[in-house]
Subunit: 413 residues, 2 copies
């Protein structure tokens, strides 16, 4: 049985943890009891992990000052997760969250310097990453650190080039790995890295840096405009990103974590959310490269908090007063079924050949972007079953295809 033919009982399911009370501002008034109430919600629906987000400038307000209590609050949150049997991935450099950048005063205005390229900033960030990785690794339920949530959103405010971005992430992942060898050490970018020809963070960064590849699937990136909330392009976008990531990995066995996926309004209306969850998960969980799925996010955002993009307010699995939603029940059902080995029957895996080697020619990224002929062809063929992607350079390599479990190679029409 090749890896894609398992019934996937080992797939991980979790939530990106957004505190129900006070959003991430709540770090300034950390309450273990509030976290306890939130994590009880998540454990109840069968999730096995949370991804958590400390706020960088509140822990490291000066380049040479890392606040002990900031770390202790983070450890306390992790311990609360353990009470509920939840594993934890800690994202380190926030950095960017839901349209807001949290940056310390030592990189802003009169001290303006790029987080990605300034040597002293990189030194300070390296200290922060190493120390936090070492600290959180003392907790057995922590399984991973990510450098930060979609750090490419810190650009263009922080100038960088593709080469600088790569060096920055590679350096920091090594620091985290050395500090916490037991943990997965990861990098995380939003999908412009895959689709935008000019973007100074590249597919190579995604598949070469860190212990597995993370992808974040947001249908407001263009796919929902193709065929609406429940159309095949929309519902399979997460699977498509996982497939792209798998095709471009130098290691054919490298897993891909769907680290963020959600049902954002208005692209996906409330009435369609449950069906979207079902369709999206049916598609992506059939992808043999998938490591796990982490929903964005755990809890809605209090409408008393201002200036967020409208879609950020209703992304929670639970409301701010802990009410479950229909889409959340659907997610819980899928998790239960997969754990029971009731996943879709494995089919011989087909793969579509991609002529663009995204690691070699990132300037051609538009050719795989949502709405491109390649993407549309993939979506069309995906309707008849699981569909991997292989790069043209690998398409005749039997050993490679075997390692990926691909039995049939299809060329674009």
């Amino acid at each position: 049985m090749s890896p894609h033919q398992a019934n996937r009982p080992s797939l991980r399911f979790g939530a990106n943890y957004v505190p129900s009370r006070g959003w991430f501002y709540s770090w300034l008034d950390f309450s273990a009891d509030d976290a306890r109430r939130d994590f009880a919600d998540l454990a109840e629906i069968g999730l096995d992990h949370v991804r958590v987000f400390p706020i960088w400038p509140w822990i490291q307000p000066n380049r040479t000052l890392i606040r002990r209590r900031g770390i202790d609050d983070l450890l306390a949150l992790i311990d609360v997760a353990a009470e509920f049997g939840l594993g934890v991935c800690v994202d380190l450099l926030q950095g960017h969250l839901s349209s807001f950048d949290f940056l310390p005063s030592w990189v802003l205005t009169w001290h303006r310097r790029s987080v990605f390229t300034d040597e002293r900033v990189r030194e300070g960030v390296g200290t922060y990453v190493g120390l936090l990785a070492r600290e959180v690794a003392t907790r057995e339920n922590v399984f991973a650190v990510t450098l930060g949530n979609e750090v490419n959103n810190l650009w263009p405010a922080n100038p960088t080039t593709a080469a600088d971005s790569t060096r920055w992430a590679a350096e920091l992942v090594e620091i985290a790995r050395a500090a916490a060898p037991r943990l997965l050490s990861l990098h995380s970018l939003y999908d412009a890295a895959w689709y935008d020809p000019e973007h100074p963070f590249t597919p190579a960064d995604c598949v070469e840096i860190g212990d597995l590849t993370t992808v974040h699937s947001w249908v407001f990136n263009g796919v929902s405009a193709i065929d609406g909330p429940l159309g095949p392009a929309t519902v399979t976008h997460a699977d498509y990103l996982v497939a792209l990531a798998a095709a471009n990995s130098p290691d054919p066995a490298r897993p891909v974590w769907l680290q963020e996926v959600g049902a954002p309004r208005p692209d996906i209306g409330e009435a369609d959310a449950a069906a979207f969850v079902r369709g999206m998960l049916d598609a992506v969980t059939a992808n043999p490269a998938l490591w796990g799925v982490t929903w964005w996010c755990s809890h809605d955002l209090d409408r008393g908090l201002a200036d967020f993009p409208e879609r950020e307010y209703d992304l929670g699995l639970f409301t701010v007063d802990h009410k479950i939603k229909p889409a959340t029940r659907e997610l819980a059902t899928v998790i239960r079924d997969l754990r029971a080995g009731a996943g879709p029957s494995p089919a011989p895996l087909r793969a579509l050949v991609c002529d663009v080697d995204l690691r070699a020619v990132p300037e051609r990224r538009a050719e795989v972007a949502p709405g491109s002929p390649f993407h549309r062809e993939w979506v069309r063929l995906r309707e008849s079953g699981p569909l991997a992607i292989v790069n043209a350079t690998d398409a005749d390599d039997a050993e490679y295809l075997g390692a990926r479990g691909v039995e049939t190679v299809l060329s674009p029409a």
Copy 2:
């Protein structure tokens, strides 16, 4: 006896409070005991007040979220000051401190908008200013609020025009005044407002907005380059700024608070600091417009904290381990002598005529800047005794001159 002839027992002396442990980052881990130890130092040398600086984005991390505990910590600090008989001025919008800007994520990067001109930001800041003014006014030892420390340092990162800056400050001072009628409601700018022809914050703002005029005298602005640490231009610069402010006030009785003055290295070496303190205070305390003097700052900066300009580390009256400095003993002596009525014998007040009406023609500010012919002439004449400034338009107005206590009017050579 005209007001300038008093022996000034009512002059106020205080310190800008910089926590000895953790600088302003200590707000994130507020300790009343640490503040107690610091304020004991200040009370011991006879100071009567402190100016304190909460950090805006930590209290108002979202436009519509003002943290109760942030306010409670501020009130606790004020209460500690009361234990030592210290009055308190609270600066609200920090904002800018020692080269660092603290700005909330809701005005940065993806939410980038000017603190001075954006309507929603002004609304949010207005709420903050009103609420904090009301809260701190509940404490009897609080006597003033300032909108923020040298808010003109928030420009150019936050674009503004002279008209916008004026509207912004006037609006906020009114909000503070309405919320806390008992308190002095004040505005504070660094001296580019007086000297830089292009600066979008003007002398008119200084003398027309708020209940008295504040000036900040820093000899690294050019005066120390004229004649060194103990030269007359350097030693009388604080007095010069007070004189300029008094000359340009629409109300001839409006007091001027020397809200910041210090002995920065390398302009003033450690060996000269005590003599500088004596000379500077002898000059400025003879100025009848003076309301009080607030030293910058209470405590040195821990050299373990990075990225501050070199001169910021040693500005304290006390070291980080609470050791007093020679200049501090000199300050304490001057305070004791003035309170005992041992100030300099009053002399008939002379005034030098200034041809530039700074409120009317701020584009001519360079004509009064350090090193300008007017400034040099004032410094020369100041050597023979206290010297006010009167604008040419007021120089023949006997009633005006009487109100200011001016007996002799001198024209520039």
